[in-house]
Structures are given as structure tokens and as C-alpha cells.
């Protein structure tokens, strides 16, 4: 004869067996539930396909940054970007996690995958924590990368210092990428040159970008919108202000999507 305690016991056993739960070995392992791999490369290819259908030298793209675990805000920002069909792709300038944990990346992916148009992600200092760097590389690909859309050159530069074993950013790679480029150059990275962790490398970085024509720089990290054109620091997504960059041949400008 079953009494109430037996029923509670049976419910517990059933809940356990029917798999509302899973076996988790550690929040720090890299056993991702998502099958998404090398997303940046795939999305860059999609962006190039989309833009060759229209005009590769006339397009808008949005920049967002520092969504951390503010998934509500990221959701709203994604909705806002989707409502502007002239925005052909989005760049996330890093810090899509708090602690670089796998489920934080997956939670962000759940929101970012709702973008109508493709997006490209840059690694942030928080994304480096724990095993974040290798998880980022699994999902998005290399942390230093570049791509071209028509005559526009995009360079995603990993300039994380402290969280990357306190190591110097790969400025040789950056120099090589910038060397001999024609057309607009868009430098995408998380830290600003004024960040504490960039203090040692600020002069070296500035000497590399100095005198480069048509160079536009985009950063995150500070959480506060700061525009000193052609340099833009994107605010954190919770501000719900989205800088949109408009490219019309060699004329590049920006406007802001602000909350109503």
C-alpha cells in the first residue's frame, strides 16, 4: 500500500530517471551542448554572400559589446537590430560571459542566434577566464582573424593581456594584417588602449596604428559609450544603445539606435 511518502519517493526517482537533469562533471569542462563550431568563419562567408547580392561597398553593421549574463538586455538588443533590415551584420566586441563558463557561452549563443543576419564575435577579457579561451575557439574559431567585404578590411584583434597569461598581444600579426591594405580598415578589439592592462603596450599599439589612413577602431570593455570618431567604444548591452556603422564607399559614418 502506497502512502504519501512513497509517492514523493516515486516522483523523485521518476524525475531523476526521465532526464530533466543531466550528468554534469564540471562547469569548467568544455563538453558543450551546442554543436556550433567555427561560427565566425561560417558567418563571415554568409556576410560575404549577402553583401555580394547587394553592394559590397554600401552596407550598415551594428556593434555591441559586454553583454555578460544580461540575457534580457541581449534579447532586446537582438530584437532591435532585427527590426532594422538595413543592418546586414553585427559584431560582438567581447565579454559575452562573466566567468568564461560553457553554459554562459551557450546562453549568449541562444540569444545571438536569433539575429536575422550573421554576427561575428571578438574575445573579451571575461571570455578568457576559466577555460573560456578554448571554448571561444571551439565555438567561434581563432581569436585573431581578418576578412574582407569588397574593399573593406575587417581585423578582429585579440588584445587581452592579463587573462591571457599576462602576455603581450600579437602585434606582429596586427602589423602584418595592416601592411599594404587599401580601402577602409575596421579594427575590432575588446580592450581600449587606455585600459589598465594595456598600459605596458599602449605606446607600441599606437605606433602601429599611427598614420594609417581610413582606419576605424571599435572597442568594448569600458561599458560606457565613448565616441571619438573614428574610434568608438560600444556600451554594454544593458544600456541598449547600439552604434551602427554606415559604409558608403570610402565614406564611413555612424548613428546610434537608442531606446525609445
Amino acid at each position: 500500500m502506497f502512502n504519501s511518502t512513497n509517492y514523493i519517493f516515486m516522483i523523485f526517482v521518476l524525475v531523476s530517471i526521465t532526464g530533466c537533469s543531466v550528468f554534469e562533471y564540471s562547469p569548467y569542462d568544455d563538453n558543450l551542448n551546442t554543436s556550433i563550431r567555427n561560427s565566425n568563419l561560417k558567418n563571415i562567408s554568409r556576410i560575404q554572400d549577402i553583401l555580394t547580392e547587394v553592394e559590397a561597398d554600401s552596407f550598415n553593421f551594428a556593434i555591441i559589446s559586454d553583454s555578460h549574463s544580461d540575457y534580457d538586455d541581449l534579447h532586446e538588443v537582438v530584437k532591435k537590430i532585427n527590426s532594422h533590415s538595413d543592418i546586414k551584420f553585427t559584431i560582438h566586441l567581447g565579454d559575452q560571459t562573466d566567468l568564461g563558463l560553457k553554459f554562459e557561452f551557450e546562453n549568449s549563443l541562444n540569444e545571438l542566434n536569433n539575429l536575422k543576419f550573421p554576427y561575428v564575435a571578438i574575445i573579451g577579457n571575461h571570455d578568457y577566464l576559466s577555460q573560456g579561451e578554448s571554448i571561444f575557439e571551439m565555438i567561434y574559431g581563432k581569436t585573431n582573424f581578418s576578412f574582407q567585404i569588397g574593399t573593406n578590411n575587417f581585423i578582429g584583434f585579440d588584445n587581452i593581456v592579463w587573462e591571457n597569461n599576462n602576455s603581450r598581444p600579437n602585434f606582429e600579426w596586427l602589423k602584418n594584417e595592416l601592411a599594404g591594405l587599401e580601402g577602409n580598415k575596421f579594427l575590432l578589439m575588446h580592450l581600449t588602449e587606455t585600459s589598465n592592462s594595456m598600459e605596458l603596450y599602449k605606446e607600441e599599439y599606437l605606433s602601429i596604428i599611427n598614420n594609417i589612413q581610413d582606419l576605424y577602431r571599435f572597442h568594448g570593455h569600458t561599458h560606457v559609450l565613448d565616441i571619438d570618431w573614428p574610434r568608438v567604444v560600444a556600451p554594454m548591452t544593458s544600456d541598449r544603445i547600439i552604434p551602427v556603422i554606415s559604409v558608403r564607399g570610402n565614406i564611413v559614418s555612424y548613428y546610434l539606435l537608442e531606446p525609445k
Binding site: 502512502n3 511518502t5 512513497n6 514523493i8 519517493f9 523523485f12 526517482v13 524525475v15 531523476s16 530533466c20 537533469s21 543531466v22 550528468f23 554534469e24 562533471y25 564540471s26 562547469p27 569548467y28 569542462d29 568544455d30 563538453n31 549574463s69 544580461d70 540575457y71 534580457d72 534579447h75 562573466d98 566567468l99 568564461g100 563558463l101 553554459f103 554562459e104 546562453n107 541562444n110 540569444e111 578568457y128 577566464l129 576559466s130 577555460q131 573560456g132 579561451e133 578554448s134 571554448i135 592579463w162 587573462e163 599576462n166 589598465n196
Partner: protein
């Protein structure tokens, strides 16, 4: 003070608060049980030793466990130390020989790995990050053990399953409505070998 000293002090602190006087601390140092667990954010397999005691009229256990996940499973070597505090409540008896015990656990999980830090390296300014090596995981579970008066080894074995949720999932759930708490629940299975006879433990006794 290194990471391991802090862990040891945490463990010692648990023993001290569980003992009624200081001498009891030394008496308590002989383990009462040996748990072995599969999953539960403590590694693939974790094992260790533990102590049982009664406090505030509740049977409790405190276990210190170690789990390891090799690089080929987790992407990097993970060394996981868990301090598992459990409150036990006799739930029901089945056929007078099996006892079902409800358990309420709070696991403090410390993971030593690449880029997890108890103390941040010197190049970080003070307070730049809070430690990212610790997590708390509350869980509830059921433990099945034999109620036998004889002192056979089988009567000293108990089996349990637990449903737990990591602090970070709870934080995300509270902070944002975009995360499912149900999908964040994890399951673990384990067994405990008690150096005492289970029959003598039922109802608990004060040390």
C-alpha cells in the same frame, strides 16, 4: 598561504563548528564514512572521506572529496575538491529492512584548473575579480540504506542520487528570465561506505 592551506582550513573550520568542544575535534579526525560519487559537478568520479554527527537534532555529514577530470575529457586537467555538507532526515522504511533517507546538501566546489584562481596573480589589481575557483551547489537527494542489526559489509553500504543546481545557474535564473532553471538541474549518483553500522546511526547520536 597557498590554495591547499585554504582548503584545509575550510575543512578544519567545518570540523570545529561541528564539535561540541575542542577535544572533540581530534576525536572527530577519524573518518566515519567513505563516499564515492559520479558526476554532480565534482568530476566524473569523486571520492573522499567524511564525518557524521548530530547538530540541532539533525543527523549531518561533512565529506571532503576529490575528483579529477583528465584533459581528454574536459579539455584541460581539472582537480576538483568538494566540501559536502549534508543534513539527513529519515524519510520512510520499506519492508522494515530498507531505509530511505532524504538529504539536503550544500556542496562547496573548488576547481583547480587553467585560469581559475583562489588568489589572483600579482598582475591583477586588488579586487579586480572575485575568485572564480569556487562554486556552491545546493542539492536534494534520496539515500537508500539497509537497516540490519548484523554487522555485514552490505549493511554499511548506502546508495544515493541527488538533484543539484549550480549557484551560477541560479544567479542567471534570478537575474534574467531567459534561462530555464529546470534545464540547469544536474543529476549525480553515489554510494557511501560507512565505517559504522547503519543501524546504530538511525535516529542519530550526539558526539
Amino acid at each position: 598561504m597557498n590554495k591547499y592551506s585554504i582548503l584545509f582550513l575550510l575543512f578544519l573550520f567545518n570540523l570545529i563548528i561541528s564539535a561540541s568542544d575542542f577535544k572533540q575535534v581530534f576525536k572527530n579526525l577519524t573518518p566515519d564514512q567513505m563516499p564515492l560519487q559520479f558526476a554532480g559537478n565534482q568530476g566524473v568520479i569523486s571520492m573522499g572521506f567524511g564525518y557524521s554527527y548530530t547538530m540541532f537534532k539533525r543527523n549531518r555529514t561533512t565529506d571532503l572529496m576529490y575528483g579529477y577530470i583528465p584533459e581528454n575529457i574536459s579539455g584541460t586537467d581539472l582537480h576538483i575538491f568538494t566540501l559536502k555538507n549534508t543534513i539527513k532526515h529519515d524519510f520512510c522504511k520499506l519492508r522494515d529492512t530498507i531505509i530511505i533517507v532524504a538529504t539536503f546538501n550544500l556542496n562547496t566546489i573548488c576547481t583547480i584548473s587553467h585560469n581559475t584562481h583562489l588568489m589572483w596573480p600579482d598582475h591583477y589589481p586588488d579586487g579586480y575579480y572575485f575568485t572564480n575557483a569556487f562554486h556552491l551547489q545546493p542539492s536534494i537527494g534520496l539515500e537508500i540504506k539497509m537497516h540490519q542489526d548484523n554487522h555485514t559489509n552490505i549493511s554499511k553500504l548506502s546508495f544515493y542520487s541527488e538533484l543539484g543546481i549550480l549557484d551560477q545557474h541560479t544567479y542567471h535564473y534570478i537575474k534574467t528570465g531567459r534561462v530555464s532553471l529546470l534545464n540547469s538541474i544536474n543529476l549525480s549518483l553515489g554510494c557511501i561506505y560507512s565505517f559504522k553500522n547503519n543501524a546504530t546511526e538511525i535516529g542519530g547520536k550526539d558526539h
